[in-house]
C-alpha cells in the first residue's frame, strides 16, 4: 500500500494548473468500485508495436494503466505541449474505443487549452489512420500545439492498450 502511494505521488502532475489529481480523476471514471493498476514495462518488441500502431517517432518506455473488472481502462499520459506539460487520463472502453479524456493538469497558459467540446470529439473513436488532426479530429484555432500533443497522447494510449490487451473484448 505504501509503495503504491509512493508510486502514485510520482505520477502526480507538477504544481501549477492542476484541475484534478490523479486520485480525483480516477474517482470520476471508476467511482467507488474496486480498481487495479499496473505499470507496463514495454520490451523492445512491444515498443516497436506501439510505435507502429501509434504511427509515432517516439513512445514512452512504460505505461501506467488503471482498470476495473467491467473491462474499462484508463491510461495516464504526461507530455510536453510547448515547453510545459499536460497530464491526461485517457479512458478506453472494452471495445478499444476511446470513452473520454480528462484533462488533469495543464501547465501552459490556459488560453491554449481547448474547450471541453473539442475534447469530446474523441469519444467513440478507435485507433486508425484517420485519427489525426484535420482528418477525424478537427483542429482548434489558437491552440494547435495542444491539439497535436493531445492527438499524440490518445494515439499512444490506444496503441499501448492494443498491445497490452490484444484480444477483444478485453476481460481481466
Amino acid at each position: 500500500m505504501k509503495s503504491f502511494f509512493l508510486c502514485s505521488l510520482l505520477f502526480l502532475p507538477a504544481a501549477g494548473k492542476v484541475f484534478l489529481t490523479q486520485k480525483q480523476a480516477l474517482h470520476q471514471v471508476f467511482g467507488k468500485q474496486e480498481m487495479q493498476s499496473q505499470t507496463h514495462y514495454w520490451d523492445k518488441k512491444q515498443r516497436e508495436e506501439i510505435l507502429r500502431l501509434a504511427d509515432a517517432n517516439q513512445v514512452a518506455a512504460l505505461g501506467k494503466e488503471f482498470w476495473q473488472k467491467d473491462g474499462r481502462s484508463a491510461w495516464w499520459d504526461t507530455r510536453k505541449v510547448r515547453s510545459k506539460s499536460q497530464s491526461l487520463l485517457i479512458v478506453i472502453d472494452p471495445n478499444h474505443e476511446l470513452e473520454k479524456i480528462l484533462v488533469c493538469s495543464f501547465q501552459e497558459p490556459l488560453e491554449y487549452l481547448p474547450t471541453s467540446k473539442w475534447y469530446a470529439q474523441f469519444e467513440g473513436k478507435k485507433l486508425n489512420a484517420k485519427l489525426q488532426l484535420n482528418q477525424d479530429i478537427h483542429g482548434f484555432t489558437g491552440a494547435t500545439l495542444t491539439a497535436r500533443a493531445t492527438v499524440k497522447a490518445v494515439r499512444e494510449a490506444l496503441a499501448a492498450h492494443e498491445v497490452a490487451h490484444p484480444s477483444k473484448p478485453k476481460s481481466k
Binding site: 505504501k2 509503495s3 503504491f4 502511494f5 509512493l6 508510486c7 510520482l10 507538477a14 504544481a15 501549477g16 494548473k17 492542476v18 499496473q38 505499470t39 514495462y41 504511427d55 509515432a56 517517432n57 514512452a60 518506455a61 512504460l62 504526461t78 507530455r79 510536453k80 510547448r82 515547453s83 510545459k84 506539460s85 501547465q107 501552459e108 497558459p109 490556459l110 488560453e111 487549452l113 481547448p114 474547450t115 467540446k117 473539442w118 469530446a120 470529439q121 489512420a129 489525426q132 488532426l133 484535420n134 482528418q135 477525424d136 478537427h138 483542429g139 482548434f140 484555432t141 489558437g142 494547435t144 497535436r148 494515439r155
Partner: protein, 369 residues
C-alpha cells in the same frame, strides 16, 4: 531527482512484487535503465521548470512585378515565460526585426483570478482579428500576413495596458484599456492605421482606448467572433481628438482536410481631413476569405502539404465617392516537413480600382517552437 528516481524504482518494484513473481535481476536492471532514460530526457526535466522558452522566425523573399526583389530576415523572436506560482506568471516575446531592430512584441504579468477569469497587465497584444494574437508563421498559410491585417488591423499591434480575459464554457472574451494611437503619424490613404501604432515605446498617453473581443466556439471545428476598438488618438499634440473606431468580425471552420476562415474589418478616424497627413475619407474597410485543403499529411512527422486560396478587398478611402478599393487574390502552397517548420510559396495579385494590376511572387521559410 535521484531520490525521486530511487523511490520510484523501489515502489514500482514493490508493487510489481505484490502482483506477480519477483522479477529476475536482469529484468530489474532493464527496468532501471528504462527509468533512467525517462528521467534524463529533456521533456521530463523541463516539465517542472518555472521557465518557458520558445520562439519563431521567418525569412522572406518577395519579387514584385514592378519593383526590385528583396530577401529579408524579417523576424527572429524569442519567447520567454516564468511561472512565479500557480497564480502569477510572466510572458514575453522579444523580436529582432530585419536583423537589426530590437522590439518587445509583448511583455505581460498575468494572474489567474478564478477558474475562468484572468488579469493581464503590461505590453499587450490587441485582441482584434485572426492574426495579431496568433502570428507565428506556422499558423497561417501565406508568405506574408494578410494585407488587411497589416493595415486596418496592423499586426503586430501591441500597446501598454491592463485588462481581463475569461473562458466561460464555449465563450472566450477579452477586454483591455491601452494607450491609444498617435494620430500625428497616420498615413491613412497609403498604409491604413499602421503608422499610428506606438508599440508601448515611450508612448503618448494623453488618450487611452478600449479594445475587446468575444469568441464563440459553436462546434469543435467552428468559431465565430467579433472585436472592437474605440479611443482618441490626438494625444494632446494636435488640434483635435481624432477618435478611432474599429469593428471587426471573424469566423474559422474546418472539416476534415478543409479549412476556411474569413475576416471583415472597418475603421474610421474622425476629422481625418485635418490630420497632419490629411485623408480624403474617414473610413477604411476590408475583408478576406480563405480556403485551404490539406492535400497530403503524415501522422508521424505531422507533415503536411496545403494549397490555399485567399480572396479579399481593401479600401483605405471608403465612402469618399472615388474609386479606391483594390481586390486581392493570394494563392500558393504551404509545406510543413514537420509541424514546427514551414516552407511557403505564393503569388499575390492586386487589382486596384485606379492604376495597373500588380503581382508579387513570395517565398518564406518559417519556424516556431
Amino acid at each position: 531527482m535521484k531520490l525521486s528516481l530511487l523511490c520510484f524504482v523501489v515502489s514500482a518494484v514493490a508493487l510489481q512484487a505484490q502482483q506477480t513473481e519477483p522479477p529476475s535481476n536482469e529484468e530489474l536492471a532493464r527496468r532501471i535503465d528504462l527509468l533512467a532514460d525517462m528521467v534524463s530526457t529533456p521533456a521530463e526535466t523541463n516539465a517542472d521548470s518555472p521557465f518557458s522558452v520558445g520562439g519563431y522566425g521567418e525569412i522572406t523573399y518577395w519579387n514584385p512585378e514592378q519593383a526590385n526583389a528583396e530577401v529579408d530576415l524579417h523576424r527572429v523572436v524569442l519567447y520567454l515565460g516564468y511561472q512565479f506560482d500557480p497564480i502569477w506568471s510572466f510572458r514575453s516575446e522579444i523580436e529582432l526585426e530585419h536583423s537589426k531592430k530590437i522590439e518587445v512584441e509583448f511583455a505581460q504579468i498575468e494572474a489567474q483570478l478564478s477558474d475562468s477569469m484572468h488579469f493581464r497587465m503590461g505590453n499587450l497584444l490587441l485582441p482584434l482579428g485572426l492574426t495579431n494574437q496568433n502570428h507565428e508563421p506556422t499558423s497561417f498559410y501565406s508568405s506574408r500576413r494578410p494585407l488587411l491585417e497589416r493595415t486596418i488591423l496592423p499586426t503586430t499591434w501591441h500597446e501598454n495596458g491592463v485588462g481581463l480575459w475569461a473562458q466561460q464554457g464555449n465563450l472566450h472574451w477579452q477586454a483591455y484599456v491601452m494607450n491609444g494611437f498617435d494620430a500625428a503619424n497616420f498615413q491613412l490613404a497609403s498604409n491604413g492605421l499602421r503608422d499610428g501604432r506606438q508599440g508601448g515605446s515611450q508612448a503618448q498617453a494623453e488618450n487611452w482606448a478600449f479594445s475587446g473581443r468575444l469568441d464563440w466556439q459553436i462546434q469543435p471545428n467552428m468559431m465565430v467572433g467579433v472585436s472592437a476598438y474605440q479611443g482618441a488618438s490626438g494625444q494632446g499634440n494636435l488640434s483635435r481628438d481624432f477618435g478611432v473606431q474599429i469593428l471587426s468580425a471573424h469566423a474559422t471552420a474546418n472539416h476534415g482536410p478543409w479549412q476556411m476562415r474569413g475576416l471583415y474589418a472597418q475603421a474610421s478616424v474622425a476629422d481625418a481631413a485635418f490630420l497632419p497627413t490629411p485623408a480624403t475619407s474617414e473610413d477604411l474597410r476590408g475583408w478576406y476569405t480563405e480556403v485551404a485543403y490539406q492535400l497530403w499529411s503524415q501522422s508521424r512527422e505531422q507533415a503536411s502539404l496545403t494549397p490555399f486560396l485567399r480572396v479579399g478587398n481593401l479600401d483605405f478611402s471608403a465612402g469618399d465617392g472615388m474609386p479606391s478599393a483594390q481586390s486581392l487574390i493570394v494563392t500558393g502552397l504551404a509545406w510543413k516537413p514537420q509541424s514546427h517548420v514551414v516552407f511557403k510559396l505564393d503569388v499575390e495579385f492586386q487589382d486596384p480600382a485606379a492604376g495597373p494590376n500588380t503581382q508579387t511572387l513570395a517565398f518564406t521559410l518559417g519556424w516556431s517552437f
